[in-house]
């Protein structure tokens, strides 16, 4: 139950930088998810916190004091691995008791604590089983109970749901979240799965190539992505590289009129959320429009999905979520794609978001790390 701070934490092997100056301040009881594609440095960061990888630079502080020089077994952190890493030769109860035995907890107290943990993890009936006799979901609950039994200062979860099948993932994820919230544990989870991260986090950290791209709530990341990478990684975005002039983005031979007012000119990338785009009759004009031709149309039940061609090799995906039972447009039909300020995001040549001059007071909150 602690505050965990990463201060310009870095790891490099020779000349290759795996983690590049990651700073993070995690409040007590907060659940922070490190999210990113494989090789982005999220697992190395977690392993540095756990003490299995030595940091090359920076510091890790737990409640203000550095834990960098403590070996893993003195850090008092609870760890849950992707592979569960249960002790295959010990029963469920003895797995859960392991950390307490290492701490020299007296037998009576130990047994009481184990019983409590097994009850919390709904494992009472399985106490005497060996790990190999359990299902994946049950094994994951044992791993969690084992980590929580020692009342760790911080809980570290390394891809805890990746080895479970899709149906179990949501359930175990909610179990973890409930246990975490009840015990008020400061928690860091690592995952490459966006949905998992969005569902479980208080706050997310998106990483790429060893660097933090953006830190924020789910809403921050989705509504106000700080880089084109975040715009594409959290949810989906149509990415249109082009040039900004006079409130228009010229991408290839297509011209898009922006919905918001942006200062500046020159090379830029326009990110448009497919689900925030809609189709209007051809010839519609005004801010936030671009003419195009429907190339593919798919009826997906709640959503109609259109691939609209705006120009030579310039296509955008439109996910029309209107509840009205409108007929599916046919391929070849001329349309206008239409959006408002919330759908668009403009990045300059250095991948920094360009400020929208209109309103939006939340804009100032964004922290940009690149």
């Amino acid at each position: 139950m602690s505050r965990l701070q990463l201060d310009r934490l870095g790891k490099s092997y020779g000349t290759s930088v795996v983690v590049d100056s990651v700073s993070l301040d995690i409040a007590q009881g907060e659940m922070v998810v490190l999210l990113g594609p494989s090789g982005c440095g999220k697992t190395t960061t977690l392993r540095m916190i756990a003490g299995f990888v030595a940091a090359s630079s920076g510091d890790i502080r737990l409640d203000g004091s550095s834990i960098l020089n403590l070996p893993p077994y003195k850090r008092d952190l609870g760890l849950v691995f992707q592979s569960y890493a249960l002790f295959p030769h010990l029963s469920v109860a003895r797995n859960v008791a392991f950390g307490l035995e290492m701490r020299g907890v007296a037998r009576a107290a130990r047994e009481a604590r184990v019983a409590e943990m097994l009850r919390l993890a709904r494992l009472e009936a399985l106490a005497e089983r060996l790990p190999k006799q359990l299902s994946g979901g049950q094994q994951q609950r044992v791993a969690l109970a084992r980590a929580l039994a020692i009342e760790p200062r911080v809980l570290l979860l390394d891809e805890p749901l990746s080895n479970l099948d899709a149906a179990l993932r949501g359930e175990v994820g909610r179990d973890i979240r409930l246990l975490q919230r009840e015990s008020g544990l400061t928690t860091i989870m690592v995952t490459h799965d966006q949905d998992e991260a969005m569902a479980m986090a208080d706050r997310l950290v998106v990483m790429k190539d060893g660097r933090v791209q953006q830190t924020g709530t789910q809403e921050d990341l989705y509504e106000r992505p700080a880089t084109p990478f975040v715009a594409g990684f959290i949810g989906r975005s149509n990415m249109l590289p082009g040039t900004l002039t006079n409130g228009m983005v010229v991408a290839g031979d297509a011209t898009l009129r922006l919905a918001g007012q942006f200062a500046g000119t020159g090379a830029c990338t326009l990110a448009l959320r497919p689900e925030r785009l809609s189709l209007a009759p051809a010839g519609t004009d005004g801010p936030g429009t671009a003419p195009g031709i429907v190339e593919l149309a798919s009826y997906l039940g709640p959503v109609r999905e259109y691939l609209v061609r705006l120009g030579q090799d310039v296509r955008v995906l439109v996910r029309d979520t209107t509840a009205r039972p409108t007929p599916l447009l046919a391929a070849g039909e001329a349309v206008t794609i239409q959006w408002d300020t919330g759908a668009e995001r403009l990045f300059d040549a250095a991948d920094a978001p360009m400020p929208c001059l209109q309103d939006d007071p939340t804009e100032a909150r964004i922290t940009h790390h690149v």
Binding site: A50, Y73, K74, F81, A85, M102, A147
Partner: protein
């Protein structure tokens, strides 16, 4: 759903078992012709009678076995052999375990190099290696001269138990290391990390987690080493010489020099039986839950 899940592996297992039998049968055939038949022959010979003129006379007698157990010389040789085999096994495990652990947990490109270093001695005939040891141990050899230079007194290790044990250890160590290493490699390193994150210092995590999980492999390595040492021939012959006798060279001597096939056969059976009984007994030392 559970019923289906429980049923499928059984059918699959049966099919697999049948396939395994089919795959094993050629080897089984070779083994029975090349190994079992000669063995039966040796058992039969051991019950025959020896005559200096006629050599082997068909008989059905336990005299050869009786001669072995009643002659203190032969019993002493068997005892020596057992002692050397035990010592070798203990030393091999003590030396091999840390090596195997380190090797199993290596991930760098040095691993291939280290593996090569361990396998390489197996490419050299043990006789050639023993000649190397002889140069070290012999009167006027490297160690002898070195000792004379340092202390003024020579140190002759040739034909001592030490020389023989060292020789067999050098032969058996690669087998022990490779066997234990392959077992440790099957243990997820994350399991050790889990133990450490729960407060176990590396030594404790080794004893509580790696040791019990590696025990079946360690036992196999120990048994392998013990059997190899019990039956060692070239090493005791070359490094033990006439002064330090072990079973295998002695059997050969009785067989060829004395032409006493029945007694040599009886000795062979006694050596084999002793090895088998001790090997079977050692598996009882491993707690049941850790067995394979």
């Amino acid at each position: 759903m559970e019923a289906v899940a429980a049923k499928l592996p059984v059918a699959y297992g049966e099919r697999q078992a049948r396939a395994a039998t089919a795959f094993l049968s050629p080897a089984l055939l070779v083994v029975s012709i090349m190994l079992v038949a000669p063995l039966l022959l040796v058992i039969r010979f051991s019950l025959n009678r020896y005559d200096p003129q006629e050599l082997m006379i068909e008989a059905f007698t336990g005299a050869n076995y009786l001669r072995f157990v009643s002659d203190p010389f032969y019993v002493a040789v068997l005892r020596t052999t057992l002692g050397v085999a035990f010592a070798t096994t203990v030393i091999c495990l003590l030396l091999g375990l840390p090596m195997a652990y380190r090797l199993a947990r290596m991930t760098s490109r040095w691993k291939t190099f280290c593996m090569l270093c361990i396998v390489l001695p197996l490419f050299v005939s043990s006789v050639v290696r023993m000649v190397g040891w002889m140069i070290l141990f012999a009167h006027g050899g490297v160690i002898d001269n070195l000792a004379r230079w340092v202390t003024g007194n020579g140190l002759e290790l040739m034909f001592t138990p030490f020389a023989v044990v060292m020789g067999i250890v050098s032969v058996n160590l690669p087998y022990v290391v490779l066997t234990v290493q392959s077992t440790i490699e099957t243990i997820d390193p994350r399991v050790e990390e889990a133990a450490q994150s729960l407060g176990a210092a590396p030594g404790r995590s080794f004893w509580r987690v790696v040791w019990p999980l590696a025990l079946p492999g360690i036992a196999i390595a120990g048994i392998l080493c013990f059997i190899l040492a019990m039956n060692a021939y070239a090493t005791p012959y070359l490094l033990g010489g006439p002064r330090f006798q072990m079973m295998a060279p002695l059997i050969y001597q009785v067989f060829t020099n004395n032409n006493d096939w029945p007694f040599a056969s009886a000795m062979a059976i006694i050596l084999m039986a002793t090895t088998l009984v001790l090997t079977a007994g050692s598996s009882l030392l491993i707690p049941r839950r850790y067995r394979g």
